[in-house]
């Protein structure tokens, strides 16, 4: 959404015109015939004009504070969702004493993104059943049709030719049977060799038990897959003995094996150990539970949204979910209910007995690497047979208050879809990268070569508007003074203000001229001698939200992690800025951080981009290419459009 470029914070123009119209109506009536005639026609004229102007009335201007029921105090003791047996779907960071900020319409409207998928209004969470079929990419998603908080969950639906320009379609799966009346929760699609599509999803029954249900397209020849049929004898899987009725959800895409059966997995838990159950089927109606798990990791708690797929160690193309053989490793991923974090591990799948072990037990699922070190959850991948790549979706929740979400009328985004590849250079990481189709949004660009940034300085980058950007940057380091400094402060520190010898340095996004609001995205290097002459360097990649907004009622954390940097590599990053979301990728996508920012001043024309170097002992030379990005014009499918 293009912002209204008025940084004085005026109430949008439309509201002023509304007042004018009302004034006309309040003029006193004079009961002389001819004056009445003129008056009548004038009012008629004005209302005709008003009717034509307001054809495209944006619903934001109707935003009012809605306090539903007794929700003057919106700080629920138990976060939404937990009582129903899913992970917390509301932010519990706010205490009862956090003052709520006076958000203006301008600030709230600005938060809406230009090219990230989000429905027109209301709440969204997990991405569901992504697939490519007959020329269209499909995205389904957990959706509340009634409000901007979690609840009443149905499957929203949207299609796109290119994973970027989405068109909204009617809801695909609603809660209308006993086996999903309390929620049509997450699930996955399996594409059968004959072209049929099978959808498995979790239903929350009228008795509050989590079950798995089968659905399929009503009309296989409909390219838009508008209508879906639920199998009459659902559910097809119910919690097995020993598994709790609220610990059984989110079935994966199935894969076909040498036993001529389809295998799939879904997450569960036993005694605080997260695990993945294995089911086999030949017809997607009857299932057998394996007696051993795909994998189990103690202490990780319930596994939601399990994802399991092969990657080529050659690292050049994505693989169909059923692929296997030499040169293939398998990724197991889980969303941890307890911490709301997505973890993955790379390992080996033993198809003979359907078990999997990680390459490195210290980096097992739930204790090792994360797909994204920021605000990110419930991710799901699919094999895109159109372009032979594995594509990953992830849900980005809001970090502001529930009251603000209700006021602005919406909550949550999806990431830009990312390709996933095995990083053959390190052998330990996956590489995530925004799909190339996002480049179709690129407009004008600015290039900067080897800009020198000295310690303790900030360099403005004059690129025009700074709220919709694709930034690619490389950094070179110049040691100042004598070598041999050992600086073993690791990690992200308390943020970009914490200076050390070799960092932090990077960019300041969504920052204003006065730097009273800013979001640093940075590297921090540290080296440690270990008593001998060898010094090892480690690099951390971080995003610091602590000064992203003056408002007290938003979450402002420092996110980050170490990122492997090989000897022959420069430090590189890519950042997608899209209003209230920033997606940051380091070293070609080895480490990714998604963050939400809710500035009060650095909005519209006041937002800027800077380079900064807060290190003490190095100069930075930065080379950047920065594109303005167009809106993706995500809108309803033009069924009745005659244009």
């Amino acid at each position: 959404m293009e912002g209204i470029k008025d940084d004085v914070g005026h109430v949008p123009l439309l509201e002023a015109e509304e007042e004018e119209e009302e004034e006309e109506g309040r003029r006193p009536l004079r009961l002389r015939g001819s004056y009445l005639g003129i008056f009548g026609s004038t009012v008629f004229l004005v209302s005709m004009a008003a009717l034509i102007i307001y054809q495209g009335h944006d619903y934001y201007d109707e935003a009012k504070i809605e306090n539903k029921g007794n929700n003057n105090n919106n700080y629920n003791k138990v976060p939404r969702g937990v009582a129903e047996g899913v992970s917390a779907k509301s932010n519990s960071f706010l205490s009862e004493t956090t003052p709520s900020y006076n958000w203006t319409n301008a600030m709230l409207s600005w938060q809406r993104t230009a090219f990230h998928f989000q429905p027109e209004r209301n709440w969204m969470n997990d991405p569901n059943g992504p697939l490519f079929h007959k020329g269209w990419y499909h995205l389904f998603y957990q959706y509340n049709p009634f409000s901007a908080v979690w609840g009443n969950i149905t499957w929203g639906h949207a299609v796109s030719r290119d994973l970027i320009h989405w068109l909204y379609l009617p809801e695909a799966i609603v809660r209308d049977m006993w086996f999903d009346i309390n929620g049509a929760w997450s699930g996955s699609a399996t594409l059968l060799p004959g072209g049929e599509i099978v959808m498995l999803y979790t239903g929350y029954t009228h008795q509050q038990v989590q079950v798995q249900n089968l659905a399929y397209p009503a009309d296989a020849s409909d390219p838009l897959l508008l209508n879906w049929v639920k199998y009459a004898k659902n559910p097809v899987m119910v919690p097995p003995p020993g598994i709790g009725p609220n610990d059984f959800r989110d079935p994966t895409t199935a894969w076909f094996g040498p036993d001529n059966k389809w295998t799939l997995t879904l997450g569960s838990m036993l005694n605080d150990s997260g695990l993945s159950l294995v089911y086999k089927t030949t017809d997607f109606i009857n299932y057998e539970l394996n007696d051993h798990f795909l994998h189990i990791v103690p202490g990780t708690g319930m596994w939601e949204c399990v994802d399991f797929y092969p990657v080529s160690i050659n690292g050049s193309v994505g693989l169909d979910t059923s692929a296997n053989g030499p040169g293939v490793k398998h990724v197991l991923k889980a969303s941890l209910d307890d911490t709301k974090l997505d973890y993955y591990a790379i390992g080996t799948y033993f198809i003979e007995n359907d078990t999997w072990i990680p390459d490195d037990p210290d980096l097992d699922v739930g204790i090792g690497l994360r797909l994204d070190y920021g605000k990110y959850y419930a991710s799901k991948s699919f094999y895109d047979q159109n372009k032979q790549r594995r594509v990953l979706w992830g849900w980005i929740n809001e970090s502001d208050s529930e009251v603000a979400d209700i006021t602005k009328g919406w909550a949550s985004l999806q990431t830009i879809p990312r390709t996933v590849l095995y990083d053959k250079k390190t052998g330990t990481n996956l590489l995530q990268w925004p799909v190339e189709e996002i480049e179709s949004l690129r407009l004008s660009s600015h290039e900067f070569k080897e800009l020198l940034v000295k310690p303790g300085t900030v360099v403005p980058l004059h690129i025009g508007p700074a709220t919709q950007l694709d930034i690619i940057a490389e950094f070179e380091i110049e040691l100042l003074g004598s070598e041999g400094i050992v600086n073993n402060v690791e990690g992200c520190g308390v943020g970009a203000v914490e200076r050390s010898a070799f960092g932090p340095f990077g960019i300041l996004a969504i920052a204003n001229d006065q730097l009273s609001e800013l979001t640093p995205i940075y590297f921090r290097l540290s080296n440690h001698g270990n008593g001998t002459s060898t010094i090892t360097t480690s690099t951390s990649f971080c995003v610091d939200e602590t000064r992203s907004s003056k408002a007290p009622d938003v979450s402002k954390q420092v996110f980050g992690s170490k990122v492997p940097v090989l000897n022959d590599e420069k430090l590189s990053l890519r950042v997608l800025v899209d209003h209230s979301i920033i997606e940051s990728f380091a070293q070609g996508g080895r480490t990714v951080i998604s963050s939400r920012v809710y500035p009060t001043e650095a909005i519209y024309g006041a937002a800027r981009l800077f380079l900064f170097n807060n290190a003490t002992d190095i100069n930075i030379k930065a080379s950047l290419k920065i594109w303005q990005l167009n809106s993706a014009f995500i809108r309803p499918f033009p069924f009745h459009d005659t244009q």
Partner: protein, 195 residues
């Protein structure tokens, strides 16, 4: 005084009603009722339809003497024929692009052609066939969307191959013909939407 005011009032109302007929959508001519004399048959139908497309001659030459058209044909059948015609043209163009790709030694041209192929492949595999099915099922809005999509993809291909007015396209006028045919089909489907 009162008389003047009455006249002003009347004129205002008249102006109001005439301005309210300013259409919110495109051309007013599309609201005309289509009719042709069944005795004149096919040629009259073709003429009436092609007159409302941006490339009259191309439209006529595509439909003229087409064995699939009969005096009982309607605009829907005309649209179907046009879409299937584009599909065969686009398929030929795609084949030609792929043949060129195999033989070219110029890396820049190779890249441009490869991207062109990427534009044409979904058009040939999905977009145009789906448009044809949609027309026969009466889903004209979806067909219109598909055709507009095809327009975009074909334009995108042309844009890669011809960067300046003096450039000659390696595809000759194949791309250009497909572009024009798609514009014609677009116009015909819009007739269906407005009918």
């Amino acid at each position: 005084m009162a008389k003047t005011l009455h006249i002003t009032f009347t004129i205002t109302i008249i102006l109001l009603f005439s301005s309210s007929s300013i259409p919110c959508t495109q051309s007013q001519t599309t609201r005309e009722y289509y009719y042709w004399n069944e005795n004149n048959g096919v040629e009259d139908l073709i003429d009436q339809v092609c007159k409302r497309t941006p490339f009259y001659d191309l439209c006529i030459s595509t439909l003229h003497n087409n064995p699939l058209l009969s005096p009982k044909s309607d605009i829907k059948q005309v649209a179907l024929i046009m879409v299937n015609n584009i599909l065969s043209n686009a398929t030929d163009t795609l084949n030609y692009i792929e043949a060129l790709l195999k033989h070219t030694k110029d890396p820049q041209l190779e890249q441009a052609l490869a991207l062109c192929a990427e534009s044409y492949i979904p058009v040939v595999r999905f977009t145009l066939p789906q448009a044809a099915v949609a027309i026969s099922q009466g889903h004209f809005a979806f067909a219109s969307y598909c055709i507009s999509d095809a327009v975009k993809e074909v334009n995108s291909c042309e844009g890669r191959l011809v960067k300046s007015p003096s450039d000659k396209s390696p595809l000759g006028d194949r791309n250009d013909v497909v572009q024009k045919l798609v514009d014609v089909a677009n116009a015909i489907i819009k007739l269906l939407l407005k009918a």
